[in-house]
Symmetry: C2
Subunit: 706 residues, 2 copies
């Protein structure tokens, strides 16, 4: 009797393990596909032994419990996966078609050959084939009918890359999902199964590069012993069409190489980098290149030796050039300066336009300050014309509630990518000015600062996975809408049930504007708590700290009003934009209200377009944010029947935190700004429940990293 | 120049001090009366040197800066304050009229005598005169027209008494307004000015007795050294027509007197009490008597010696009888017993009805358990017929948010006093069964457990003053409505401005039901945090603790439902009530929903009168409480222009705490009860923002006393 119980118990536990919805499978939940909607494939064919074909079989067997029989086209519905060299492919797809899509592009098509139905995935290269297979799998996961497929795709950007701000000691700067997935201390001996899962997940969304270590880089990464560890990772990622890159410390020649300095014009230094490149490429023949943060926030750089950014970047580019490597040189320069921080990157980099090698890409954060909840686009986009320039987006929610707040970032990134720089007249969007459309360069690229860690669900918050997903999808195709991306992700990650999809999507699509409203509406920025950036500290004043590290520098609230005057009579940051944008931003009346306090210092009584005063509108925005988070809670609780209990409870719990935090933000900001506005909060708004003094006492014990 | 500044500064400071609205003046803010609405008195006359007349002059001079000239009736408007012996009074008021009102009753009347207008205050005794003067002052403070006054009043209860649960070491059990106002360690040498202010405030609302020390009484109070301190206080209170009483420890003969026991049938013990009474009355000739908590919660009592409550009470009564003193014997008996706690007082006292001396009054808490947010009335009311019985109300908010929550208690007390016991058929209200109407006894009385402490504003929360005020007013006249009392109090304490009075009154009148809703709706009771009773702990389970000290004893939640079955098939507590009440309570359908879970264990799916299930209704009640506190915040913020900033900020701050606490209560109770109901919280209700586990960790460091 006891034995039977044991067996039953084991069965239950096993089922539990197999079906455990802990988020570890991300959007690749093949086991959980609705078998009723699966295509009726009867056979598979194509490039024998191709990695892409293997990947399909693996997924298919998870969906159905069986591999597809590998045989020639026959009666029924055959799946054909092959490159342009494949005989069967050649019959259906013209070589020219595939050539136009490049090695990463692909075609998916369902055709009738006599009485035989064939669905094919075709590409010029193995990379494209892999992406095509994951596209097909996505269609299957989301329950799409395959009968009339006519898909051809190629990526928006050549290089679609994650930046890990992971330190070699396992911590992650601005990481909120546990320690680094790169377990350097165990490499090269112990290889985490996560490396492969990571590669597969990235491949499935088209990411083809990864920078393994923090931009605040330890020189150790270039030591031989670390490079041998890097090689192991590179070997694992390679089949998934992902190249490895490294962040390098500009002082490496001196620190690691023992040279007297790291001056880029010092031939010894140049030699050291050449030799280091050779060493790397011997280990990793397809190594991607370097990412560099130089002369910013205390990091070393060429200016330490009186040289320029281009001197530094070009020296590295020259070392990598023979092997096809690139240098991503960050424009996030942020050293003490009397100049408006928002202007600094432009002031330093605009004069250097054209001075860089063609294997250098300037990597520019989306906004001119620092990944704020909402910023205008950086004026470097469109302005840098003769050098490749790549956007850097922040997937990890440093400024958006860590892994506690549900904030879907695709709408933010879309707003950024579709911002019109006017660099070549109307419709010169950021996307077009970086993807090669307006300024063709050797490389186009886009980077996202990863939100990945050792947490079982990878990203801390189940919905933070959607941001990793969205980054990959937008890097692949920046014309996708946020809604399309949300639809795909929800269906794959949770459910194809419309009663789930519709409200959850609505919540996701509203979530970014909601967070902006309860944190920093109307163009407010950087009023975060000191150092860790979780929660509000608009009053923050650390004696002796740099002014531009402190919130009052940015909000500039006084009895006369609030906001940073960046007009022509202020810091004149507006003039870094093209006409007619600069005039639009410069004029209080034409400036978009969403950016009002970014560009203007505005009287509290200023009349907004809806007739409210600025102060009133600020109050309604903060309160609206709070109310919408409460709506999110309702939405989530209502869909409980359609979610597994583990993820339901997890997300529910985070939404509760978010709801409390939103009230905290609202109370802190309104009560603090009220000390300047000296006006009542409109009386129909829910009242604060905290005391300003009490909120000012809050000091969270949070670090820069996990 | 500097000197001028100093003078100006001093002026400003002085004005500040005079007009400081720190709540210390309670409802007696004569300085702040609107001089425009003052009556046009031209002279004052009456009993020369009468204390009542002095009190009027004092108030008048605070209102106007001048005394009224004391002269005979003359042209103009004379105020006449006198007893029935006064010649001028005799001219206008018949002796018989005054006699009918007793020594505490009074007449206020405005009459024309030829061309002379006279407003008179008349009474049989000095006490009544004092009350009449404060009534007149109240009319003046509230801006009432005096021209057609026809007032005659006499008190509902003979003895209107405060119980201070103040310990001799200065702490106050269940006190939330600072340490005790009775500074025993400084007496008899140092006399706090507060004693006199306390006396005046009580006199102004008709309170004529006070028990200075905690019912959990230290025997020390009966030592000669303490009695000498008591005498000082009694001397100060005497002109204000307030008698002093003491709580006594039943073991005093043994502990203070050194006797071998305190057995009430021991002649030595009886002798000791007689001698102690003699000693007391030598010091305090008008000493009121004793209050006794015996054989309850570990206190000693006659049952320690196999005697009865009546044996104990009568012995003390015999000792006090020669001097006119009384014994108030508490029916709050609460010792370990397998019987439903709600039944115990009745079971112990009902059989003793008639066994007590006529100078004993049984003091019974309003409800059968313990000052819960809402209880049915104790079944002892109406049931005890041959012995005087007095209600004990709790002014201090032990179970209603301490001095943090705004809860106006008059509606609760009115509901209690107007409850129909049916002891002599319909309309046998609790009030009528205790005030002498139904059962005439030598004494009628009502007690309130004070909420007074050393805090500048006396009661911690400015609005808690209203409860002290309301207790006095209802003890004087239990036919007053809660609204009438609120109107008086608001006008005197804050403002006669209708824009203030109306919304604030609305808030006050809703506040008790609101607190019931966010704490313990539908008859739930005693699900408070362990020991200190601040905040929710429905899950509380202290190993080894008495069951009836623990919330699950009272809410009895399970998967089958929630509530305490006190029907005839349960604990049968219903049978302690008269018909038809017992049948009404016993029947699930006829039981008032406000008391449903007090009397019934009800399935979660039970259909309420509004069509909701019990579980749904519970959710809506808790949420409704939260939403209404938020409305209170709005109401208060809107009246800011009509309040001084000190009190405005103070109350605003407390309302913020109350608002957070209400959410805490709602989340704790709903999330906990949901573990039994296993039903979703209706989706249109604002979702919880806390985790149950997190709330279960909260352990406040609060004591039983300040």
């Amino acid at each position: 009797m006891r034995r039977i119980f044991c067996i039953i118990w084991l069965c239950i536990v096993s089922i539990g393990v197999i079906n455990a919805e802990d988020g570890s499978r991300l959007w690749l939940r093949f086991q959980s596909c609705n078998t009723a909607t699966l295509p009726n494939f009867t056979a598979i064919n194509g490039n024998k032994g191709s990695f892409a074909l293997q990947q399909f079989q693996e997924a298919w067997s998870l969906m159905t419990g069986n591999n597809l029989p590998e045989r020639n086209l026959s009666a029924g519905h055959t799946l054909l996966i092959g490159t342009s060299k494949n005989r069967e492919i050649k019959k259906v797809v013209k070589a020219k078609e595939l050539k136009e899509l490049g090695t990463e592009g692909y075609i998916i098509r369902t055709v009738m050959q006599g009485n035989k139905m064939v669905t094919l995935v075709a590409s010029l290269g193995e990379g494209g084939l892999l992406y095509g297979v994951y596209h097909l799998l996505r269609l299957i996961q989301t329950g799409t009918d395959l009968l009339s497929l006519q898909i051809s795709e190629k990526p928006s950007y050549d290089i679609r890359i994650l930046n890990h701000w992971d330190n070699l000691n396992g911590t992650v700067e601005r990481g909120y999902a546990g320690y680094s997935i790169w377990q350097w201390d165990k490499l090269p001996e112990v290889i985490s199964p996560r490396y492969k899962e990571y590669a597969r997940a990235n491949a499935s969304i088209g990411i083809n590069g990864t920078v393994l270590n923090n931009v605040n880089a330890s020189p150790d990464i270039l030591t031989t012993s670390y490079l041998q560890k890097v090689k192991i990772i590179a070997d694992i990622l390679r089949p998934y069409h992902i190249k490895v890159y490294l962040s390098v410390n500009f002082s490496s020649p001196k620190i690691v190489g023992g040279l007297s300095d790291s001056d880029p014009l010092n031939p010894q230094v140049q030699k050291w980098w050449h030799e280091k490149a050779t060493e790397i490429y011997r280990l990793i023949p397809d190594f991607g290149g370097f990412l560099v943060k130089a002369n910013s926030e205390g990091q070393p750089g060429p200016m330490d030796y009186g040289r320029t950014h281009s001197d530094g970047a070009n020296m590295l580019a020259d070392a990598l050039k023979p092997y096809g490597g690139i240098v991503m040189w960050r424009a996030f320069v942020y050293n003490p300066s009397p100049e408006d921080r928002a202007k600094q990157a432009y002031l330093e980099f605009k004069p250097l336009d054209g001075a860089f090698r063609n294997n250098v890409i300037i990597q520019v954060k989306n906004g001119p300050v620092d990944f704020q909840p909402r910023e205008p686009f950086s004026p470097l986009f469109g302005a840098i014309q003769q050098t490749a320039i790549m956007p850097e987006l922040q997937i990890t929610q440093e400024y958006l509630g860590f892994s506690n707040h549900l904030v879907f970032l695709a709408p933010q990134w879309k707003e950024f990518l579709e911002s019109d720089t006017h660099c070549k007249g109307e419709n010169s969007t950021v996307a077009k000015s970086t993807d090669g459309t307006i300024y063709p360069h050797t490389h186009s690229a886009i980077a996202g600062v990863a939100n990945i860690g050792l947490d079982t669900n990878w990203c801390g918050h189940h919905f933070a996975q959607a941001n990793w997903y969205a980054f990959g999808r937008l890097a692949w195709d920046h014309t996708l809408t946020a809604e399309e991306i949300a639809t795909e992700w929800i269906r794959m990650t949770f459910s194809n049930e419309p009663k789930f999809e519709k409200p959850v999507k609505e919540m996701m699509l509203q979530s970014w504007e909601t967070a902006v409203d309860y944190m920093m509406p109307l163009g407010l920025h950087h009023i975060f708590a000191w150092d860790h950036h979780y929660g509000p500290e608009p009053w923050c004043n650390i004696p002796g700290a740099r002014a531009d590290w402190l919130p009052p520098y940015y909000h500039n609230a006084g009895t006369d009003g609030i906001g940073f005057d960046r007009t022509t009579t202020g810091s004149d940051a507006v003039s870094q934009y093209y006409s007619p944008l600069r005039e639009q931003f410069n004029n209080l009346e034409s400036c978009p209200e969403e950016l009002l306090l970014w560009f203007h210092h505005v009287p509290w009584n200023h009349s907004m377009k809806n007739g409210r005063t600025l102060w009133e509108e600020l109050c309604y925005r903060y309160d609206g944010g709070v109310q919408r988070v409460r709506e999110f809670q309702k939405i989530w609780d209502r869909v409980e029947p359609f979610v597994d209990s583990d993820r339901f409870r997890h997300v529910q719990s985070r939404l509760r935190i978010q709801s409390r935090d939103a009230v905290w933000w609202k109370d802190a900001c309104l009560l603090y700004f009220q000390t300047f506005s000296k006006k009542p909060i409109p009386y129909d708004i829910e009242r604060p429940v905290h005391e300003l003094e009490e909120l000012q006492q809050i000091k969270l014990e949070l670090k820069h990293h996990n």
